[in-house]
Symmetry: D4
Subunit: 225 residues, 8 copies
């Protein structure tokens, strides 16, 4: 056995990541059985680490909570967290959505950003079809160190916001929509082709990586490197 | 020979269209030789019709103008027109572009809308990365009966405008951009997936159909049916 | 709280839209819970607005109707409407479909066009495989101010009609079909590439926007601007 | 050396095909040097076969004609033929195009159908934007044993014709168009998704296979099997 | 009411098709309710026509058979037929499949070809991974007037057969496969790109059109035009 | 009946394959009924062959095991095997996965490689996000004659390994992932575009062919040709 | 004239951007004439701003330099800069490439990052096929505040680096490659699907936005907000 | 400077690869200047290594040969080689092509396989449209240790061969074809979806990797591991 990871047959848990990357390994729950999840949570808890699992179904959450009473589950964002070492939240990440349907992805981003140590403020349903809603809030949004823009369908929100602020914007396309939205492809391409500087993009529905990246940048801005 | 069209071997000119559709047939120049164009202009002119050709190269334009001194050529929009029966221009079509690179498509739309009888006002370089430029002009734009929004790359302009006005907006995606713009696909999908009501879309770079459709609607609004 | 929208946490209802755009905000039901829908209907009703919800499931419809007895539900078109201020219907929008499978999208367009104030006439199953059915009706169809053409599979209907009339035609591709129809992509491309002037296109299965846009143009033709 | 093919290093000429398939091997000129073409024509001529080469450039044609005075070249269809054994032309294949730009592909189909023994009648520029041109000719077209429909852009022509006749229709999508025609993809999908029975499809711009298949069916209808 | 079609609100039944195209209209069952199907069968039966419905579910079949005892249902091919006027079967259509999974599509083609008057012979599981199975049967297959090749995954069967025979081959790609078969796209492209002359293609899983087209050609070969 | 295959109506079992290709035919269970599977297992067993079925559901496995007590089923890899002639396992195939979700495909590859005569060693969860796990094991992995790399999402594992070893690496993209992984397309393209020499690729989720190919190469290395 | 932008007919220069976004507007040269560029540089220079133009051809660069002697041109990165107000460079952005072909995009990123105020260190040809080159440099790379990873073909570099560091990584896919790299699509998908947290992505070949975003984050880390 | 690679600014030459992978680094010439190539050849030659460059243009080849007289250039395969240490050729790799147009890719594979130590035998123009040409040669082809199948258009050749032999087959799709071949996509998908076991695939037009991989396997079969 290595001192860098723990080999539990179906997985090799990267316990050195805390040191190497400044955070523990995140558990992607979607393709794992509840038994596998419990095993992983057990090992990581025993290492004294905070544990986070994303894309956890309600059924998985209930199975894990039966074993670990101190696990909490964000139903909308489908995020499981077990916090052993309370961390102070710093700075601010603003999370905006285009519509109501984008909220689950935004909630995942929010839960992740908080787990990794950032304050979060939410601005939901700011879609460009009624853009005065965005302008009404833009002064508040500008106060954040990093902004996450979550949008499906046409996906224009990220570019609009990036054109109005002087901090990094991370755009998350969602699979909300129908027809030629092609499960998020339309929003993804819109975001990649935005002319607004300072906008970077993550995978469709990947609230996790948006939350992680925004939190990482936010903390570096607050604490320096 | 039919009284509905004239058969000139490589083409069958739809001379009845004036009556049936309220406009003469438009000549798509791109896949025709200069000789074919001259033949078509000759026949349609002899029918006493106004003639319009789109996507005409400079070389084609020069060849046609050598024969017909009264033909004029819009260099940016690549439109050839021969007007025998002057038509009064009515109403107003507003044509907006996202960037400078979209101007050729906008010019095609403008030339076509005028040829078919509409006044045109142009608002260029209104891209969403500096959206105050749009807000500065929106009161003027709102005065038009129909709006054409021409944009490449992310293509968000059409949806933004449609969310701010109460008249029809016709969106034209352009092939301006690079990488994942995929020659206009990104802008096309953005426009099709806009949540803003009243936005309809034409083919990538199809300034012609945008100009025609906008002019058709504009004239119906002015004159009734 | 703004006087332009009402913030109910998961949504920001655009109550100024009536003034800005001449119509109230439409509720996209697909990604909302019944509780959210009821909340939205309550707020908008209290504002004295007419309310329309699209893509409402039967279950959602029943939940909303339990609270608001005066809501009506179009089962085929899946449209929920609550009309407090009766509006006179003007002009005429013709709605044509290629086949029987396209009817739900056509019904959505019809319900929306009526809600926003237009008379509607329906011409179903006019597919180009038996084109005499279309020719038999074309004189009637020509009387409309705007025509909506709804078709899946090859999607040629819109271009055929546009080639025969002198009013705007809005084409709606549908996801009806199989194999290389690729869930409506084939019909969408057909419509975008039509050579018939005056044809504009909306998203696959987007009966809502077709109905809205057609009604908007129809009313402008009848009433002027 | 086999008696079924002749091995000339860079190619293995299928001389048995005449017996096995009722026709000699066709030479696809596009990826061959003029030297290779001359070598192939020499071998096949020495076998006493008629020879046909498709997608031959003018330069290739001139190089081959310098050697074989009896070769003829169809400039529009880019087809090279060397006929040693005159064949009686039978039956009739009708070839229709949507527009003028589709003529080169139609000419390839025509040259090939004639080479393999069929009479050909041409009906060009029958596009659905002016569908009366098609109806004017349909009685003539119906007399053919097989119909080839060549069209780019929306590509609806094949389905319209197939819905009006009782003989097989072979549809050839062309790469004519721009924007979302995606080099013929739009027309290809339209044709594959047609609801009209009796329509089959070949590759984009593949006038050769359309001409071959139509001629094969035409001859079987005339002569039986 | 027209004497060319019967208008039953949700459908316009093309009763003139028998005269115009030599066959009655085929009913595409997939997007229709059982009530609609029964209505259509009733009308067409009353017209004295033979009736055929494709893509009929077992449930639809049972509903229709409850009303019309003389309807028969091909379970594998999901084809419903009601034959009032017995037709003599002529000639021969050979139907080959690549694998066992392609049989439902082949059965649809077979049922349709027979309904429209052709004898059918079946050759199943001839996939190119064990190509001696095909060579063992090729002499028999060659006797047919037309051959249908049904294959998913790589879809090479059609091209192989066309290279070995002197009659038309109609290729049907199927959605059998996984991964990069992309629901039949791989087989479709293979077939469209085949170098074998005489191969034409229909939509993915479209056994109906393959059966119809093959039967049409077969009958023309047997009976002449 | 041929001595090369056995014709059981819905299938033609390629019994000569053992001689021709050095292995019996593999049964693709996915599109077959349990009755068909039992029939096939019966025939092949009676031929004295070892039998293997892939993509067998639990239900299919239970049906077959009811008849053949000596059949065994790999639940994760969904592989059914019936071994009548025990074969000595030789050499070594190493099977690596990027994540836990890739294990079912890896298990299919492992079961197949063993069935065809190779020793297998497994290295799971070696994903590039914690690449020290791979480096920790690379000396062991290098001992194998052939390596299989199974990975979804970004799919970089295959290229990384191939850059570190001097034996062939077979990459299997999996459909694990979401959003722009497009069901394995992303991993497939990554693997095809790897700059690392010696990496070849099979279809998405095709553990079977990876296992077969690796075993074939491994045995040739051990035994020579 | 507005005090927020200067309208020069073909463009509306966003002079307020300096205040609003902390940087001047960047000029995208690709679709502009040299005359237009000179006009834009003149106006912005007169505003006392630093000016930067991207994707400038050599010809454009020479035309502009003829007018403004103090403009400098980065030939590999195709970036034109005119610096009137010298800015101190702070912090550090590391720019890594997969191969030699990715250098032009990296150079664009480097020139942009410097123009906007960041120190840059370059690490070229670190491709994963010889991953020891990366490990040899990783300690140096880790010292940067932000890392840009530029890679075409398989595009795995970004994910590998992000898995080894604790700062943000911005991945730029390039169009370097051939075949199924599909002009950068393969690398784009690889990067979007990376499991490594902290990796965000920009458009294919968009060195500009990578340089801008990295510089923006770098400066915020150094200076705080 | 590392003893594992030599850093020459624009490239880091992986000189340890010989030891680690059993072969020197291959130079991808396409995106390099002649000056860069000469520098790389100089360094690697000075290391005493054999050097190979792929996708070298004639112009690049001439520039390099001017400096190194002992470099040789394969014009069709566009491969540059400088051999300082003659290697004995062992075993046999068979290289088959579908058509004449595939020969350049086959020649690249051949040159590479020889450079890395394998005997090569070529079988060109074996396309499946005249499959007897393949059967005529199959006994010879079977004698090879590894087979490379190079084919564009439908790309069926690889699967056909793999179904007939008991050695590994590496399939190379080529971009030869037109229309829906989509620059090699059709052939790529055909090959990935083949049912024939033992077939693995490389990138479109990647003769290099096919030659390398085949040679690697061939040498392992001959020499063991």
């Amino acid at each position: 056995m290595s001192d860098k990871y723990i080999d539990i047959d179906f997985a090799k848990l990267d316990i050195e990541r805390q040191k190497r990357r400044g955070c523990s390994e995140t558990v992607f729950c979607e393709s794992k059985t509840s038994e596998q999840l419990i095993k992983i949570f057990t090992v990581l808890k025993n290492q004294g680490q905070n544990v986070i699992g994303t894309r956890a179904s309600l059924e998985q959450a209930q199975a894990v909570k039966k074993i670990f009473a101190d696990v909490s589950y964000n139903t909308e964002g489908r995020v499981l967290t077990l916090v052993q070492n309370q961390q102070e939240l710093v700075g601010e990440v603003a999370i905006c959505t285009g519509g109501t349907g984008d909220i689950p992805v935004a909630e995942e981003a929010a839960a992740v950003a908080k787990f990794f140590g950032s304050n979060v403020k939410k601005y939901y349903d700011m879609g460009v079809a009624g853009i005065h809603r965005l302008f009404d809030k833009i002064e508040d949004i500008r106060k954040a160190n990093v902004i996450i823009a979550v949008a499906g369908m046409e996906g224009a929100l990220g570019g609009i916001i990036a054109g109005l602020v002087d901090v990094p914007v991370i755009a998350v396309p969602t699979s909300v929509g129908y027809g030629s939205s092609f499960n998020g492809l339309s929003a993804l391409l819109t975001m990649l082709n935005s002319c607004a500087e300072g906008l970077t993009v993550v995978n469709i529905d990947n609230g996790f990586n948006a939350g992680y990246s925004a939190s990482q940048i936010n903390k570096l801005i607050v604490k320096g490197k």
